[in-house]
């Protein structure tokens, strides 16, 4: 049946714009006035997501998805034209097997963004609110100073440059690279490598099973650093830090290149132990390894 009435268009003009199939792709274009602390939740099949914090009190999501991929936006908050306080986007995978789409999201800098997908690259810039990012594979890159940053990945790599106040990163095999500062840092990995450099960290806890850990940043005055590893190598780059260091291996070895103090044999003659105080010992570093070696270098 043909629907060509121009008069009908007057009644349809106020309809909400929704994603309309266009060839093999459907265009995504969502624009809303939102509160400065809007909560945005994005879940489903996307291959890349770029999130940018901006100074406007509005949310814009653009991009393209496979034509047969179901895209469901929903909003929360008071009705009657007031800015939206929460938005949710659910993207179902294409049934035809087409590759997942790409999305770009602009939100107020103070927004909280929760994003979850399978294999995806997520890039975030300029958010000072909260971030909760969850992938299986792919990569997550965050630049900026979010108040809270929670990242979970299986084998996707994680790269953070900036100064999150509170951060947790958990991977199975994905590598974790942090450049910057953090007040409360927690990193957990099974076999990914961990590298923490530059800046100053107040409370840090890093756990690895087989992945190597390199800590080359500062530990804040009265701060603490704890690194546990089963077989991964732990390397602590001291620099000019003022630290009390307590290092223990069960069966591995400890190499000290920062002072003349030598490690002593561990309990029952296995492994090694080393206690060291550098500078005024303002902060504390505890390094424990089962069979991975521990290295202290300048």
């Amino acid at each position: 049946m043909m629907h060509t009435s121009l008069h009908l268009a007057l009644f349809l003009a106020a309809a909400t714009s929704i994603a309309v199939p266009l060839g093999a792709q459907q265009k995504v274009d969502v624009r809303r006035a939102v509160t400065r602390d809007v909560y945005v939740r994005l879940n489903g099949a996307f291959s890349s997501l770029r999130v940018t914090g901006w100074q406007k009190d509005s949310l814009v999501m653009t991009g393209s998805l496979p034509r047969d991929s179901r895209f469901e936006p929903a909003m929360g908050g008071p009705s009657g034209g007031s800015p939206v306080t929460g938005m949710k986007f659910y993207i179902e995978a294409s049934t035809s097997g087409a590759a997942a789409g790409s999305l770009e999201l602009f939100v107020p800098v103070g927004a909280t963004v929760w994003a979850k997908s399978g294999s995806a690259t997520i890039d975030v810039t300029g958010i000072t609110g909260g971030l909760d990012l969850n992938i299986v594979g792919g990569a997550i890159t965050v630049n900026g100073n979010p108040r809270e940053l929670n990242i979970e990945s299986m084998d996707g790599g994680v790269t953070v440059t900036g100064a999150p106040t509170w951060m947790r990163a958990k991977t199975a095999t994905g590598d974790v690279t942090i450049r910057g500062s953090c007040t409360d840092l927690g990193i957990t990995t099974v076999s990914g490598t961990v590298s923490v450099r530059d800046g100053s960290f107040e409370r840090s806890r890093i756990e690895s099973v087989t992945g190597n850990v390199t800590f080359g940043a500062g530990v804040a005055r009265a701060g603490s650093l704890l690194i546990d590893s089963h077989s991964g190598i732990i390397e602590l780059q001291i620099g000019k830090a003022s630290l009390d260091i307590d290092a223990t291996t069960i069966t591995g070895s400890i190499t000290n290149s920062v002072s003349t103090r030598r490690p002593t044999p561990g309990r029952e003659g296995r492994g090694e132990e080393l206690t060291l105080s550098l500078g005024t010992g303002d902060a504390r570093a505890t390094l424990r390894s089962f069979k991975g070696n521990i290295r202290l270098i300048r």
Binding site: H3, L8, A9, A15, S17, R70, A74
Partner: protein, 187 residues
């Protein structure tokens, strides 16, 4: 493929229900043959998702198997299955909405209309959608209301009761759904 020659006649239904209620799976299969198309149609239109529709169709028949002894025969078996299916779909939808942690969508009032200036109507549609696809593309709540009212013939009050909405909200969802569908079908 369901063989229409296996579909039982009305006279057989009561006998089949009795047999199936006693554990006769073959009898239940014939009931399935009779109703599966209707049940699946309701599920796929209310969800807009063939995968979920398949799951809910499965669940509806399993529940029917569990509750065969409660079928009294006041309505036809098809009507009984239809009501049971709608309950399955709506219960699952409510569960999914509750599981959306830290986010509770408001009723889908057409508040977005106030943001018209930011979302221009699409003028580059090349493919005309058929009605089924247009229904599938509706927002979830609007789709449920549209399917129950315009496709399945429920009244506003019945829908309001099933969806736990005010009648005015049901009307709002229905009007919005119709507007969206007509917009999608218009060149």
């Amino acid at each position: 493929m369901i063989d229409p020659q296996l579909a039982p006649t009305t006279d057989d239904i009561a006998a089949l229900v009795t047999l199936a209620a006693r554990g006769d799976v073959s009898a239940f299969e014939r009931l399935y043959t009779r109703c599966a198309g209707r049940v699946y149609a309701v599920c796929v239109r209310m969800t807009g998702d063939p995968q979920r529709a398949r799951e809910y169709t499965h669940d509806a028949f399993v529940r029917a198997w569990e509750r065969l002894s409660t079928f009294r025969g006041e309505a036809s078996f098809e009507t009984w299955m239809h009501r049971l299916t709608v309950n399955v779909v709506l219960t699952a939808s409510r569960g999914e909405r509750r599981r959306a942690a830290r986010f509770v969508p408001t009723e889908e009032e057409p508040a977005a209309e106030t943001n018209l200036a930011l979302s221009a109507p699409p003028d580059d549609v090349e493919t005309r959608l058929d009605l089924e696809r247009a229904i599938a593309a509706l927002p979830p709540r609007a789709r449920e209301v549209f399917v129950l009212h315009d496709v399945e013939g429920y009244r506003h009050e019945e829908i309001a009761d099933r969806l736990e909405l005010e009648a005015s909200s049901v009307r709002a969802h229905l009007h919005r759904a119709r507007r969206l569908i007509m917009r999608m079908l218009t060149r």
